[in-house]
Amino acid sequence: MFPHQGRSLVFSLGSPAVMFPRMETAPPVITQNAAPALIEVEGLTKLYSDFPAVTDLSFAVRPGEVIGLVGPNGAGKTTTLRCLAGIIPATRGSVRICGRDLATQTIEAKRRLAFFSDEPRLFDYLTVEQHLIFTARIYGVANYREIARPLLEELEMADKTDKLPGELSRGMKQKLAIACGLLHSPEVIFFDEPLTGLDPIGIRRMKDSILKRSRAGAAILISSHLLHLLEEVCSHVLILKNGRKIVDGSLGEVRQKFSEQSGDTSFEEVFFRATGENKDAP
């Protein structure tokens, strides 16, 4: 049983005071994690016609790990995430979610994951409450009312249950998408540019939410260009360029690898060295 099912899920999101307390801890502490990987990727390759968007990508994410997927534009980050979430099929290779093969045990694998795109993907003609009911039925969350009611209150959306997405601000839409995505207590979570369009409070809440999910045992993969976000919340990093993995490992390992003399090289510097990009270019 996943450790944070039921009511406890509520307290991973919500009001600044309860669900998003001031971040007291640094990014997840890197320890030798012996638990079986929740995300296992082996030789993932995705071709668009003849163009290789992702080539022979392999990595694993264990419970509690937050891995940052970074790379220049066109590196294949979004394609990787879409392949891992089962939105698009991989051309070659295998993806296992919580031990279930995404290609052959698709439904069992999808039941355990959540994907949050940079733009909240909502149905314009369903209200906030209808979104939650709909999601509960899709994922078979029998006790969704117990989860949804306090969740809406803590997301400060209790008075907006009859609102359509068109009547909500971007931040509220994001909250609704998160509420829907977490309703079934996913063990594996994918974020594509999670901070897009959020205000400073929203950014803080999102970071805290990611960390809380990881502490509760979820395996999290974040694709972002915001290197400071990755430094704050990620335990590991995977750098892609032209669809190929340049390097992966814990933040310390990667930093160490690309530090010339000292070990205190900024992650931005590491990124430029790893990808061979010229940071001084206009």
């Binding site: 995705k46 369903l126 709909f134 078979g140």
Partner: protein
């Protein structure tokens, strides 16, 4: 210099757009659509081109009356521009144009010129299209006809702009929309009353309309009304604008062109010299337009409407059970307020109440009730063809959200089932309502044959059982087309247009009819066998019902196979092979 930049932008916008569409023709699915669409347009518009058009147009004796009527229509269009709108003056720009042009060192006159230049494209194609539709050209005067239409549209466009500026000025001076409308309608009422009185007391009575009215006499009377008294003065400026369209040849056209251009010039001066701020309203308009385009592109036509209210849940959705029901529920909710139990109960009540109220008239063929019965049954029959085209709250609506659907932990067949159930249910409910109306209102006697209520009930029940199964298959066909040819269903500004769209729609329509006919054949054979076997044992009506049940069962089996097959295709559907999502 700035005008040159704007002209450059407009020229390249069109060139690049054309180039993109031409490049797309390298893909067979677009090329095939374009060929079929091109052939259709050729067949409809151009096949008579070498033979000099269809006809020379309006007979000479009616030319003058026609010109006056055209002037009158133009006057009405102009009046509407003063009565209907309620917003402030706003020039329609795209969001990108607002972002680039509004902060740029460009004067408002230049922006107006740019707007006028931009609108010429739509005006140009509208003029060509209407000239082709009219088919009134005689070889060489196609150009004159097209120019005539261009003059009318360009003048209306200038007037629309000028009147929007003038309305805004009036609003700024405290004249509300409603007060303006009341004042204009009062003025129109006064003028119309004066004209009616003048006609009544100065002209002879109109020719009798009973029996077969003499059209020539009627035409002469209309000519008298339109060419005497105050009306010619009232229509004078409008006649100047439409006159080139009615010119018999190049000479007459050139003579009429001068005054028409003079009217345009006056309107142009009016527009340019109106000192009204339009920028703020234009920014708001461009934002709303962009939102509507985005909503349509995401397949949500409902959100594209100006007013939107949350739809009532059609039924209580339990959190556990078949996930396909969630999609069914979602799509019923998206259908809006009409799809509620209350609305359908109200419709049934109306049909039953009105049906029995008219029952006395249905005992014999003829009468309002019988007419309505035939109309209802005809609609029920035609609904098999228009229903699946009109009700699109299935994969066609959710196509832009396919990435969301692909994430759901449910097998493909459940996605397809959940998607097609909502339009199938709505269509079946509409058909049952029409059948109920037909059952109640159908006459007891028809063509000398007695049709009892029991017989009618058998026929209606057979249809009520078979039609929903046919609906399901008819709806599966366009949903299959979505998965096979998703680009043909793409909406919004990136979707296919022009020849391609027409061709694709024609191909889909004929393909749908063919596949539907083929899929109905086995069920029709089963029906025929059962009907023939039972025809000597039971009455015909009962035979129809007995034949209908296994036919419906076979159709359901076919639909089941179809759903399974489409489910497998959905599971293998590769979004990345299409241009629906950003990679």
């Amino acid at each position: 210099m700035i005008a040159g930049a704007l002209f450059y932008y407009q020229r390249h916008w069109w060139f690049n757009r054309l180039l993109t569409r031409l490049r797309r023709l390298r893909q067979p699915k677009y090329l095939f659509g374009a060929i079929v669409g091109g052939l259709y347009f050729y067949w409809y518009f151009f096949r008579t081109l070498g033979r000099g058009g269809r006809s020379a147009g309006i007979p000479l004796e009616y030319q003058d009356v026609a010109q006056s009527i055209a002037s009158l229509l133009l006057l009405v269009a102009v009046l509407f521009a003063w009565i209907l709108p309620q917003s402030r003056a706003a020039l329609s720009f795209t969001e990108a144009e607002v972002a680039f042009l509004f902060p740029a060192p460009i004067g408002r006159k230049t922006l107006i010129h740019f707007k006028l230049l931009k609108s010429q494209t739509v005006i140009f194609f509208s003029a060509i299209f209407l000239t082709l539709i009219g088919r009134r050209w005689n070889g060489e005067d196609f150009l004159l006809r097209a120019l005539g239409w261009w003059l009318i549209f360009a003048t209306l466009n200038l007037h629309s702009l000028g009147s929007s500026f003038a309305r805004t000025k009036l609003m700024d001076r405290g004249l509300s929309n409603w007060l303006r409308r009341i004042l204009i309608l009062c003025a129109v009422g006064l003028v119309v009353t004066g004209i009616v009185l003048w006609v009544r007391y100065t002209l002879p009575l109109p020719p009798a309309m009973e029996g077969n009215p003499d059209l020539a006499q009627l035409g002469r009377y209309a000519n008298d009304v339109l060419h005497s008294g105050p009306i010619p003065w009232l229509l004078f400026p409008f006649r100047l604008v439409v006159a080139p369209s009615f010119a018999a040849g190049a000479g007459q056209f050139l003579l009429a062109l001068g005054p028409a251009l003079a009217v345009m010039g006056l309107l142009y001066w009016w527009v340019i010299s109106s000192n009204v701020a339009f920028e703020e309203a234009s920014v708001e308009l461009s934002r709303k337009t962009a939102e509507r385009v985005a909503a349509v592109r995401s397949g949500n036509w409902q959100a594209a409407r100006k007013t939107k209210k949350p739809g009532r849940s059609p039924f209580q959705l339990r959190p556990t059970g078949l996930p396909a029901v969630a999609l069914f529920w979602k799509n019923l909710t998206s259908a809006g307020r009409l799809v509620t139990t209350r609305a359908w109960l109200f419709l049934i009540w109306i049909v039953v109440f009105a049906g029995f109220a008219l029952h006395s008239q249905t005992r014999q063929a003829g009468g309002v009730g019988a007419g309505l019965a035939f109309f209802a049954l005809m609609l029920a029959g035609f609904s098999l063809f228009w229903g699946p085209q009109m009700l699109r709250n299935d994969l066609r609506q959710d196509l832009p959200a396919t990435d969301v659907l692909k994430m759901f932990p449910m097998p493909g067949w459940q996605v397809v089932l959940g998607e097609v159930l909502a339009p199938a249910a709505i269509l079946a409910a509409a058909q049952w309502l029409l059948l109920l109306a037909g059952l109640i209102l159908f006459p007891d006697q028809f063509n000398g044959h007695s049709i009892t209520l029991a017989q009618r009930t058998c026929y209606a029940m057979a249809a009520a059982i078979v039609l929903p199964c046919v609906d399901l298959i008819a709806l599966l066909i366009p949903n299959a087309a979505v998965l096979f040819l998703p680009a043909w269903f793409q909406l919004g500004k990136d979707g296919p247009r022009g020849f391609e769209t027409t061709g694709q729609q024609l191909i889909l329509m004929f393909g749908q009819l063919l596949v539907l006919a083929l899929s109905l054949l086995p069920a029709a054979a089963v029906f025929a066998i059962i009907f023939l076997l039972t025809s000597h044992l039971v009455p015909i009506a009962l035979g129809v019902l007995l034949g209908g049940v296994p036919a419906a069962a076979l159709l359901l089996v076919e639909a089941g196979f179809g759903i399974r097959l489409l489910g497998l295709i959905f599971e293998r559907f590769d979004l990345s092979a299409e241009i629906l999502i950003q990679g």
